[in-house]
Amino acid sequence: MIEFAATYAGLYFRGLLLGLGLTVAAMAGAFLIGLFVALARLSQRRWLRAAGGAYVALFRGIPPLVLLYLVYFGLPAWAAQVGNPFLIALLGPLDNRLLAATLAFSVNAGAYTTEIIRASIQALPADQMEAAKSIGMTHGLAMRRIVLPQSLRIAFPPLCNEFIVILKGTSLASVIGVTELMRSAQMVAAATFLNLQAYILAAVFYVVAVIVLQTLSSIIELKLLAGTRTGD
């Protein structure tokens, strides 16, 4: 097993790095989606609230694998079939595996991130918004300067958790041929017939990566909370 690991560690590591890159890109997209949809869900305007709610209901409901197939196989083919040049320009690039995977995971994780950010905004005592307004801030300015900076600190641990969920989810991208960690393991298994070893090594890589990420997030979490807690 050790010899096996030593032989293929480099290949697996490259796969892991690709998966991490995909995760960072998807998380960035999910965060932007989550921020705006969460603000929509908390808006004064009913239609914005409804649109935000619909987004969450829809994309939390579609399994990521189905979404991945839709985006990668479905959309570019459909655009080509319709033959509309605008649609082809818009959706054609999705026949790129990485781009399709990034979009699918962003949209999927965006639904969860929305709920994380919405809950974090609502977890902040209402008097923070009121105090900001009492010194003459508009709703938008109060959100930007007072509410969101505090809410996103509350959101940080669950967002890290979501990052880990996305990372493990990138293994699904193997089915559309993205050579991330799972895909690397499949190729090694196919070439050596050592299925057990190949997938155990993949599992070990995932576990170690997640432990490292957890540790990092705990350290950052402590830094973010510096000064704002009583005691110590």
Binding site: D127, E130, A131, K133, S134, G136, L141, Q150, G227
Partner: protein, 267 residues
């Protein structure tokens, strides 16, 4: 519009104010005027609408009927063709700058130091330079006696200190009227005095103040006028000396007696 029996202009005028929460009336036909330099205390049993009235002034709680005029300008609504329509967030925010509010539970920005709490409004709302804002903040901190806490985070301060920072934050906006929402109710008894003494000092500077309080002794001592509320309406509104010297009715007398016994120690 200007009352004829006083020298100072009206900062706040409340006319026939009404407010319901889900069909339950909480304020009905409230009329109140506060002139520049006046200190007005609002007292009364819990649930009588004191806090709702105070929060209507800066429109943190929107009112349903009547008018609130700050320096003669209508708060929260615009008159169009004889009808009142909700004003924009930008306009409401601008008019709010003429008020400063001190909250029962302090409501300091927890992610900011004391100094950052104080310069937030001056810099990002009023557009003052950082230097000027810091100067204001230092002056305000001196007033509330917390110059040494300038770089602390709120969570490291006692309740009394946090409330004094809350007062300083309001002062830094240089508002025309200060609104106090039961500023000592969330404090340990031994911390009440330091906050009241700061407010007494502001009284000495002839600030305009509207104070919702349960500290009857403090109201008797500091307020020019005392407003007594019951069931969403103003029952009495007289100079403090008259108000306490000769209570208007037996219910007010009983209320005062009860509160004098409960808390006579704090001042």
């Amino acid at each position: 519009m200007v009352a004829d029996d006083v020298r100072y202009p009206e900062v706040l005028r409340i006319e026939a104010l009404g407010k319901s929460f889900k069909g339950t009336p909480v304020l009905s036909n409230v009329n109140l005027t506060v002139h520049r330099g006046e200190t007005v205390a609002i007292i009364g049993p819990s649930g009588s609408g004191k806090t709702t009235l105070l929060r209507s002034v800066n429109f943190l709680t929107p009112y349903d009927s009547g008018k609130i005029l700050l320096n003669g300008r209508l708060m929260g609504y615009v008159e169009r063709g004889g009808r009142l329509q909700p004003d924009t967030d930008a306009n409401i925010s601008r008019l709010r700058r003429s008020t400063g509010m001190v909250f029962q539970r302090f409501a300091l920005f927890q992610h900011r130091t004391v100094l950052q709490n104080l310069i937030e409004g001056p810099v990002h709302v009023l557009g003052l330079s950082r230097e000027l804002a810091c100067e204001r903040a230092r002056t305000a901190l001196k007033t509330v006696g917390l110059s040494d806490k300038i770089d602390q985070y709120p969570a490291r301060l006692s309740g009394g200190q946090q409330q004094r920072v809350g007062i300083a934050r309001a002062l830094c906006m240089e508002p025309d009227i200060l609104l106090f929402d039961e500023p000592t109710s969330a404090l340990d008894p031994e911390l009440v005095g330091e906050v009241l003494s700061v407010m007494r000092q502001l009284r000495g500077q002839n600030r305009t103040m509207l104070i919702v309080t349960h500290e009857i002794g403090f109201a008797a001592d500091v307020a020019d006028r005392v407003v007594f509320m019951e069931a969403g309406a103003i029952v009495d509104d007289r100079p403090a000396r008259e108000f306490f010297g000769k209570p208007k009715n037996a219910r007010i007398e009983a209320f005062l007696a009860r509160h004098r016994n409960e808390r006579s120690s704090s001042i």
